[in-house]
């Protein structure tokens, strides 16, 4: 391991005195510029700050991640129009994770090590987040992660702006039990960690109430044939289908459900999903999913001044026929939360920002109001919307109070 020990004399021998001087001189600008706001050599100048956007814009996840990229860019542009962060304009460097998890890790390293970005907004799937996590922890970067996810994670280097599983699931099950008198549930999901963990949480909650899960079923990602499970559902006659099918499978599932004569508007059975946002409905078709209930924290149809302004700005920027789903809104929160934290800390240093995180709030959030919890997730409301034929959700319920994020629920510690 002698090679690893490059001591000062060793460096001198390799570079010579002139080289060492040049090396020191190169290192200097990073230190000399505004020492107080940036003591760790981030790409911050007197009037700009560089941040990273890391999503898949090619490959199978591009379908889902496009909205997040658009939201993050919009937020950055709006912040710049208001004068930037600590008087510095935000410049973003966008990298493509290409729906490939090792690529995500590699690009994260590039953003943090080569570009020295102050923060990164990105990732969508849990798999991509897990892939970049060691990189962010090694180089002490900060990632703003927008997707609702399974929980069971709390990194000092990630802010989770979407719901973790309990926020999404508990209130919605309480609601169908109370409002719709549901007694039996059929749990159905794609076969990977998020649906499985979500259903585990759901099952525990259902059984705690003394109600019954009559079926639990998983299909491989990309599965396109749901006839068998639809037959099983017809036979078991559950009150509620609790669905967490994702991606292209979603389209197949809802089309086949309709074709098999299950009309969701009759609510027999009622369908409650945690995976279909307005984005997914574009592909499924409003007429095929009409009547289903979704549990999210944000719907495009939310009526409040923040959201109206957000939807208007989003459409002006990205086109009139665009729709905004839950994750897109959560992605939009990222740059704003970062701005608030930087301004409170008075510095771009990740360590200083981390100290001020708990309690950072956003009164201008399209979903209403959010606040960062000590566990790096957001306090936010849970809402239930009913899918309409035009592809929008009608909000039928929202929790009165903000729900506390609980990434490590009882029984999982």
């Amino acid at each position: 391991m002698t090679r690893a020990k490059v001591t000062a004399p060793g460096l001198k021998r390799r570079l010579g005195w002139a080289g060492l001087l040049a090396w020191a001189a190169l290192g200097l600008p990073g230190i000399s510029v505004a020492d107080d706001v940036n003591s760790t050599g981030l790409a911050v100048t007197e009037d700009t700050v560089k941040v990273g956007i890391l999503h898949s814009i090619t490959g199978t996840m591009a379908i889902s991640e496009t909205g997040s990229v658009q939201a993050e860019k919009l937020a950055i542009e709006q912040i710049n129009a208001q004068g930037g962060v600590l008087g510095r304009k935000i410049e973003y460097i966008q990298e493509d994770g290409a729906s490939d998890w090792p690529t995500f890790a590699e690009k994260a390293r590039k953003l943090l090590v080569n570009d020295k970005v102050a923060t990164v907004f990105g990732c969508w799937t849990s798999a991509s987040r897990k892939a970049v996590l060691p990189v962010f922890e090694q180089y002490n970067g900060m990632l703003y992660y927008p997707t609702f996810y399974e929980g069971l994670e709390q990194s000092p280097n990630v802010i989770y702006t979407g719901q973790e599983a309990t926020q999404q699931i508990l209130a919605s099950i309480d609601w169908v039990v109370k409002e719709k008198g549901a007694k039996t549930f059929y749990l159905l999901g794609s076969d990977y960690i998020w649906p499985r963990t979500s259903n585990k949480i759901a099952r525990k909650h259902i059984e705690k109430k003394g109600l019954k899960v009559v079926g639990e079923e998983y299909y491989p990602l990309g599965h396109t044939q749901f006839n068998s499970v639809i037959n099983k559902i017809k036979l078991r006659k559950p009150d509620v289908i609790f669905a967490s099918v994702v991606g292209g499978s979603n389209v197949a599932f809802y089309k086949q459900l309709k074709a098999a004569g299950i009309d969701l508007t009759k609510e027999k059975p009622l369908l409650l999903t945690i995976s279909v946002t307005e984005d997914e409905i574009l592909g499924i078709g409003g007429e095929n999913v009409e009547g289903a209930y979704a549990s999210m924290k944000y719907f495009q149809s939310l009526e409040n001044p923040n959201n109206e302004a957000f939807v208007k700005a989003f459409k002006e920027r990205w086109g009139d026929d665009i729709v905004i789903g839950d994750v897109t809104q959560a992605a939009y929160l990222g740059p704003w939360l970062w701005k608030a934290a930087v301004e409170k800390a008075g510095s771009f240093d990740v360590d200083k920002i981390r100290e001020v995180f708990p309690g950072i709030e956003l009164k201008t959030a399209p979903e209403g109001y959010v606040r960062i919890h000590e566990n790096h997730h957001l306090w936010s409301k849970a809402r239930i919307g009913q899918a309409q034929k035009d592809g929008q959700y009608k909000v039928v319920y929202e929790t009165e109070d903000l729900m506390e994020p609980d990434p490590f629920p009882e029984g999982y510690k």
Binding site: T58, S228, G248, Q256, G283
Partner: protein
């Protein structure tokens, strides 16, 4: 396992599962026929098969839009026009691809594999640039999305029936074309002995091009039909490609009859097991059985006896 259900319920299960199996069978056949023609008859491993299917799906999407705005009165039947256009679009693209790329790579199966895989990436990105990264929703006339209620429990999806009929029609047409027409005789001659076929005056280049185009065209029709049951996005084709190859290889690459037999076996096995096991386990078991049989019988279920 059966104790929870009453007798009529059990009867309904079998009826519905039987139908589910049959509709899976027709989907497999529809998906695999085009590939069986290209892979089986020409020896070209077409990794872009799924993308040709999605071209058909996008054609359907565009046709739906066109009918909705220009001739709303005829909207109820647009689907049949769309299928025809899907065939034309995919076949034309197939012809172009054969001329530009495939014909330079005959007898180099691994190179065609790479080249068509590259083609699939190019097509995916092209769809993404033209139609956007998000999935598009292909709307269907109401009558196609309904179901026929036979009893309380048994409901037959109309789109399942349409796929079945379509599969039957296309399979029959392919059969007639391959085994009862002069052109089919030429194709078979080229498959069995290319130099000899050339020697008796068959334009093998042209036969190749048309065969490839035909395979792609059928993929396009399959893609159009699948808008009824699945998603339409730049990468949706990838959802089908594995199953398609599975069916063709299991059936014995050179035999169209083998493709049909294998589609039947796999679909029935899968849908029966899906009912009693979980979805993922059913898939695992199906793949295991197929791998097992292929180990014992590498040439697939039906093998054509030809002199190499």
């Amino acid at each position: 396992m059966f104790a929870d259900y009453s007798m009529p319920e059990l009867m309904s299960i079998f009826a519905m599962q039987g139908f589910a199996g049959l509709s899976l069978f027709s989907i497999f056949v529809l998906m695999a026929l085009g590939l069986a023609i290209i892979f089986g008859q020409m020896g070209v491993i077409n990794m872009a098969h799924g993308e040709f299917m999605i071209l058909g799906a996008y054609t359907t999407y565009l046709t739906a839009g066109l009918f909705e705005t220009v001739m709303p009165g005829l909207y109820g039947i647009y689907f049949f026009v769309a299928m025809f256009l899907a065939f034309i679009a995919s076949a034309l693209l197939g012809m172009l691809v054969e001329w530009l790329m495939i014909r330079h790579l005959y007898h180099r199966p691994l190179d065609t594999l790479l080249a068509t895989w590259g083609l699939s990436l190019i097509l995916q990105q092209a769809y993404r640039s033209v139609f956007g990264a998000r999935e598009v929703g292909v709307s269907l006339p109401d009558w196609m999305m309904g179901s026929i209620a036979v009893t309380d429990l048994v409901e037959i999806p109309i789109n399942g029936l349409i796929v079945m009929v379509l599969t039957l029609v296309i399979a029959t047409l392919v059969y007639l074309l391959m085994f009862r027409s002069g052109w089919g005789r030429q194709v078979r001659a080229v498959v069995q002995n290319r130099p000899m076929a050339e020697a008796v005056g068959i334009d093998t280049g042209k036969v190749d091009r048309i065969t490839f185009a035909l395979g792609c065209g059928i993929a396009g029709v399959a893609g159009a039909a699948f808008t009824m049951i699945g998603s339409t996005g730049p990468t949706s084709g990838q959802l089908y490609i594995v199953d398609t190859f599975l069916v063709v290889v299991f059936g014995g690459a050179q035999s169209l009859l083998g493709t049909i037999a294998s589609a039947f076996t796999i679909s029935q096995a899968q849908s029966t097991m899906e009912f009693f096991l979980s979805g993922s386990m059913a898939k695992v078991l199906t793949l295991l059985v197929v791998v097992g049989i292929l180990m014992l019988r590498p040439q697939g279920l039906f093998a054509l006896k030809v002199r190499r």
